[in-house]
């Protein structure tokens, strides 16, 4: 027991002194969070609307222009017809309204000339939004002018709902991803290095039992994974204003179980790798696809169905889903238990694989 304690103490010292490990554990996930957080995929872009009035506008037309400018979804640019036609060709406008000065009838007489809406067909969503909003405004104006009572009564009601932002989705994913990276790489590299340089052999020349050394290294990384998760969630909440609804305490066993699963993967890789150089090749082959398929940056249900079948069973998916369910939806243990069982199954399988890869190594001696 004392041996494990002392080894853990030494192993923590070594981890903390390893600047590279610290960078990849804490700083690089932060950079990823910063970049994707600032990209803010969830902000609806404004529709660029060009307006060209061909003659001095009358009062009605003037009022219509003001109304257009007050629509929050529009970014209205006023210019001459030539300039605006050019701009839409360049793709800088989703739609351009070419409005004659006497577009609005004066004194109720329908003498108004027609308006032309130019549509940018390469931005179909934005341009159709523009057209429907313009039509809506005109319909209302018509109703008001004819004095007919509205047939339908529509009220909007403001409900302060939990308004999910992309960052809320992102933070649990980044935490899961970082735990995977830390667990897989820190173990795979260091143990392949120990193996290659003969450190493990030297340790085996002492009465120490191999499991004692492995346990010390695992404990170290479990502590690191909890600190790492706390740090990243802390920055996510305080700096990026991410929301956390569920229990922080439920996150701890999820993080630890996730780390055990990926530590097993790291040990397996270091067992099969004969040199340190082969570690990134094997590790990236496994880790890289999970980066995109494990539900870190994009929801899995946006993927093609066949890919979802793969993505749904990846170890990273179970970890990021469990984290997200707790952080975003306030899920309780029983609500995420299928994820937990799957993570346990992966952990058992990967630890067995690690055992196998090191027993192969032993046989070669």
């Amino acid at each position: 027991m004392n041996t494990i304690l002392h080894l853990t103490y030494s192993s923590i010292k070594m981890f903390v002194r390893n600047k590279q490990a610290l960078f990849f554990t804490l700083i690089s996930p932060l950079i990823i969070m910063g970049i994707f957080g600032l990209l803010a995929f969830d902000r609806v872009p404004q529709v660029d609307l060009g307006v060209a009035v061909t003659a001095p506008p009358n009062a009605g037309t003037e009022a219509f222009l003001e109304q257009l400018k007050s629509v929050p979804a529009f970014n209205v640019q006023v210019g001459t017809e030539t300039v605006e036609r050019e701009a839409i060709k360049e793709g800088e406008r989703a739609a351009v309204l070419v409005i004659p000065g006497n577009f609005f009838p004066e004194n109720g007489k329908p003498t108004g000339e027609g308006m032309i809406i130019l549509i940018n067909s390469s931005q179909p969503q934005q341009s159709s939004t523009a057209v429907s909003i313009v039509n809506q405004i005109l319909d209302k104006t018509t109703l008001a002018a004819t004095g007919a009572p509205p047939l339908f009564n529509v009220r909007t009601e403001d409900v302060s709902s939990r308004n999910f932002k992309y960052i809320d989705f992102l933070v649990p994913g980044i935490v899961a991803l970082s735990i995977m990276q830390m667990s897989v790489f820190s173990v795979a590299f260091i143990f392949a290095d120990y193996k290659e340089k003969g450190v493990l052999k030297r340790l085996l020349a002492t009465p120490m039992k191999p499991y004692e050394f492995v346990t010390a290294n695992v404990i170290t990384r479990l502590i690191v994974s909890v600190i790492q998760a706390a740090f990243l969630i802390g920055v996510g909440v305080l700096v990026f204003k991410a929301q956390v609804i569920g229990s922080y305490f439920l996150l701890i066993p999820i993080v630890v179980l996730g780390a055990i699963m990926f530590l097993g993967m790291g040990f397996t890789i270091s067992g099969f790798a004969n040199t340190v150089e082969t570690v990134p090749a094997i590790a990236n082959l496994i880790v890289f696809p999970m980066l995109f398929l494990g539900g870190t940056f994009f929801p899995i249900d946006t993927m093609p169905t066949w890919l979802q079948h793969v993505a749904n069973y990846l170890p990273l998916t179970y970890l990021s889903t469990a984290m997200r369910e707790v952080m975003l939806n306030g899920a309780t243990f029983s609500e995420i238990q299928s994820n937990i069982w799957w993570m346990l199954a992966w952990a058992v399988a990967l630890v067995a694989a690690a055992n196998f890869s090191f027993s192969m190594e032993e046989k070669r001696q």
Binding site: T3, H6, S10, K13, M14, R202, A205, P207
Partner: protein, 305 residues
């Protein structure tokens, strides 16, 4: 004297390749035992099987009453090991390394005094990777001493070191020997074996070809002492062959070489004969047989090829 290590019919094969072929020997308590041989002779494999690091294909090794096969942990607790190419954790300084290794034996040690023993106190707070080759080997020895072992194994401790570092390490091995510890070392340097070892086993192609005290090996090998010189003018080597104590004589490239059964008798007779022939000599030297010659005589090939 008690045998602290007994090796019986030890064999290690990898597929068709036999690395160690049915060797037997014993090491006595307190002696320094050398295993001498060229690279690939099976020295390291032999050592690592005794240390419990490699499995044996067949045979038996007893160390201080423990069977290495079944009581490897007991054996490991009693020995100190310096591996041929061991390295240590990069993230710890020497003091921390020594303390960490002591903890593997469930011990607490005065790390500083151990480092003092191997003259590394000024490097106590450095990392192992910052040490020179000689310093690394000394650290290795300090770490091998953390458990106050009965037997210490040194696998080619001076390979790759410069002459000064090598002499330094020899002094250290002599110190360890003076502490009463049994030392088992492998080397492919004859000089090292002659200087450090009480007894030597010569290994070649997975077998032990000779084993005796260093002195006896030199004496019994049949390799003779020799007198070599350059005469001032050419003479017939046959004229020297009949001298007392001389076995054979030969000349090549102006250098004459007499193999002697008795140098003490041959020397005055040689001078006498040369005076009669009115020949002066230059570059006179007497060469004693070395383990190098012994090895050549035993195996028919040079130690280093």
């Amino acid at each position: 004297m008690n045998n602290i290590i007994e090796v019986k019919n030890l064999t290690k094969t990898y597929g068709d390749f036999t690395a160690v072929d049915n060797i037997s020997f014993a090491v006595r308590q307190g002696e320094t035992f050398g295993i001498l041989g060229p690279n690939g002779a099976g020295k390291t494999t032999t050592l690592e099987m005794i240390e419990g690091l490699k499995s044996m294909t067949s045979g038996e090794v007893m160390l201080d009453g423990n069977d290495v096969r079944t009581e490897a942990r007991e054996v490991k607790a009693k020995i100190g090991v310096q591996l041929q190419s061991s390295s240590f954790f990069d993230g710890l300084n020497l003091l921390e390394l020594v303390e960490t290794f002591a903890s593997l034996y469930g011990r607490k040690v005065d790390a500083m005094s151990l480092l003092e023993q191997v003259q590394l106190t000024d490097k106590a707070r450095s990392k192992a990777k910052e040490l020179s080759g000689g310093q690394k080997q000394r650290l290795s020895i300090a770490v091998a001493l953390v458990n106050d072992p009965k037997v210490i194994f040194l696998d080619e401790p001076t390979t790759g070191l410069d002459p000064q570092a090598r002499h330094n390490l020899w002094d250290l091995v002599k110190q360890i020997k003076a502490l009463g510890k049994t030392v088992v070392l492998t080397t492919h340097y004859m000089e090292e074996a002659e200087i450090l070892c009480d007894r030597i086993a010569i290994m070649d192609h997975a077998r032990i070809v000779a084993m005796d005290t260093t002195v006896n090996l030199l004496r019994q090998s049949g390799v003779a002492s020799a007198i070599a010189f350059r005469p001032s003018r050419e003479i017939d080597p046959a004229q020297l062959q009949t001298l007392p104590g001389v076995d054979k004589s030969a000349a090549s490239g102006g250098e004459y070489r007499l193999s002697c059964t008795n140098v003490t008798a041959a020397m005055p007779a040689l001078f006498q004969r040369l005076r009669e022939l009115n020949v002066e000599v230059k570059d006179l030297k007497v060469t004693e047989p070395t383990l190098e010659d012994v090895f050549l005589a035993l195996t028919g090939h040079e130690l280093r090829d």
